[in-house]
Symmetry: C2
Subunit: 355 residues, 2 copies
Amino acid sequence: TKTKKIAILPGDGIGPEVMAEAEKILDVVAPRYGLSLEKRRANVGGAGIDAEGKALPDSTVETCRWADAILFGSVGGPKWENLPPDEQPERGALLPLRKLFGLYANLRPAIIFPQLKDASPLKPEVIGDRFDVLVVRELTGGIYFGQPKGRDAERGFDTLVYTKPEIERIAHVAFKAARLRDKKVTSIDKANVLASMVLWREVVTGVAKDYPDVELNHMYVDNAAMQLVKNPRQFDVLLCGNMFGDILSDEASMITGSLGMLPSASLAEGSFGLYEPSGGSAPDIAGQGIANPIAQILSAGMMLKYSFGLSEAYDAIYQAIESVLAQGLRTGDIMTPGCTRVNTKEMGDAIVRAL
Amino acid sequence: TKTKKIAILPGDGIGPEVMAEAEKILDVVAPRYGLSLEKRRANVGGAGIDAEGKALPDSTVETCRWADAILFGSVGGPKWENLPPDEQPERGALLPLRKLFGLYANLRPAIIFPQLKDASPLKPEVIGDRFDVLVVRELTGGIYFGQPKGRDAERGFDTLVYTKPEIERIAHVAFKAARLRDKKVTSIDKANVLASMVLWREVVTGVAKDYPDVELNHMYVDNAAMQLVKNPRQFDVLLCGNMFGDILSDEASMITGSLGMLPSASLAEGSFGLYEPSGGSAPDIAGQGIANPIAQILSAGMMLKYSFGLSEAYDAIYQAIESVLAQGLRTGDIMTPGCTRVNTKEMGDAIVRAL
Ligand SMILES: CC(C)[C@H](C(=O)O)[C@@H](O)C(=O)O
Ligand SMILES: CC(C)[C@H](C(=O)O)[C@@H](O)C(=O)O
């Protein structure tokens, strides 16, 4: 048995509710793969502000440093919306965590489970039989962190900057991921307007030489925003800088129509990573025990796969979810006529049983 | 009779074909409103490169300076795709034209004609009965033109900068447009990450005080990319900086499913403007006489409205198009079973008759 340490940061809104279900799944799955998990909990987001005065309290950073991976819930809510941007739960917790832990590679799968095809806002003939796109987003560079950045009453400015090693590093992640999928990378840029994106395109083209088995295309970000709506199935892996990835991954996830199903991983070099649902803290339904825990459960699954090397554990969880969906169980967000409505805990329990 | 001078820049691909139909419409409509049009033609894009060695030849700039408005076709095609970015037809013509003529306000309507509802990739219940969104995009500032900007082999960078007057100017355009529509402005930013966008939000909020009859909302760009897919009808006017407007206007136009129907206007202070279809030069069907001329015709209509003050002329053209669609006439791009397929010229002729 090997032991791994995880920091559990449930956060706000539905975060604690769905986290409880993810922990339940981990408790069942980990031992089967010879893994013993040591857990510590910490405050983050609004919960951090309320308890310790900061969206990312120092004690939370310490807990994360102690851990081998972070399982993150979700943060934010109306209570903290009027704080200055820097102090708000989302920005104040996520950006420093990404930077402090070097979480440069953000993997955002946009997957439609066959049972949930009807949830997509796109027509059935547009979305087709199978939709599985992976957005690989650079997460610690670009215009998010570039200096100088500032504002006064008359002028505001930000710097979009990328270096060759930063681009190479994220491009390798995308090509490696594509190798395990449909072997197609679409690199997103705006090389017709931005100098940084001319470099981006060149460097990605260079990295592609190491992956002759993977097909590389380049696409302008504006065209990609169109193509995702027009013909989303043309994509396999989308490789994006920080800002374009922010926009396109959200668009891609909405195309699935079931945000409550989508996990994400933010990886550092080595095996450290932060795992969180793609959706938000859903304050409107928080505390009612009705949120969909699947995104959080799949996030825990991604942690087992990427930080602890247990691909099969991820697959087992994924299949358990598929079988529960096939049984017709649905939380409110994915409910359709003829299915059985369940609450957060019932969904978690059903997945445990299917395991 | 007043006389106005227009520069006609047909460009590449389907540009010349659809321009011929737009000119036909202008020849019929202008005299009815007491307008005499003096026209000069000039090369632009690939046509400029081939004939005069540059995407925007000096002689073309002269013709535009002479004119009261520019009617632009479309530019680009595989022949010029391997030129350096700066010299390519699209970038090499459009960006300098915007800057030289101070075309700061880009209006991009995304409209679904009731007869073409089925063309949208979105489900009928998502798109609803009426879809009419106007993207107001700042076009001469932001990261497109901000300095410094550059690259070497190791590093590439761009600057996103906005000043208070730049933001005020475009915000007024959006609020004025909203007044004539559904009185709702959604201002797009990324104020949770970008310093320039914190200023953007503040300045837009300030301008809103002059328009108490218009409702203002702020939305992050990533959320907007989602909401356009999830519930596009919530929007009336989207107010965006240059880059976010580039992305979201393309997404919004694809939601209509009929790019061949969408015009755009790029306005300077005063009455000068450039008018062009939202779609591209469609090299795949160029020369066949089958392209949809409606976007180009509506662009000519926008010119009559915004540069020459003839709102009613625009409305007349719009209604003629609606009646032709109601007759069941369709070019190939918008063809559906039961309708009558027509070519470029037949569509133009039908609109002339309907006028
Ligand atoms: C909250 C915000 C800073 C963040 C981002 O822009 O990266 C969020 O939108 C995300 O995508 O994780
Ligand atoms: C061709 C390109 C420079 C241009 C832009 O990015 O503005 C185009 O995409 C547009 O939207 O008009």
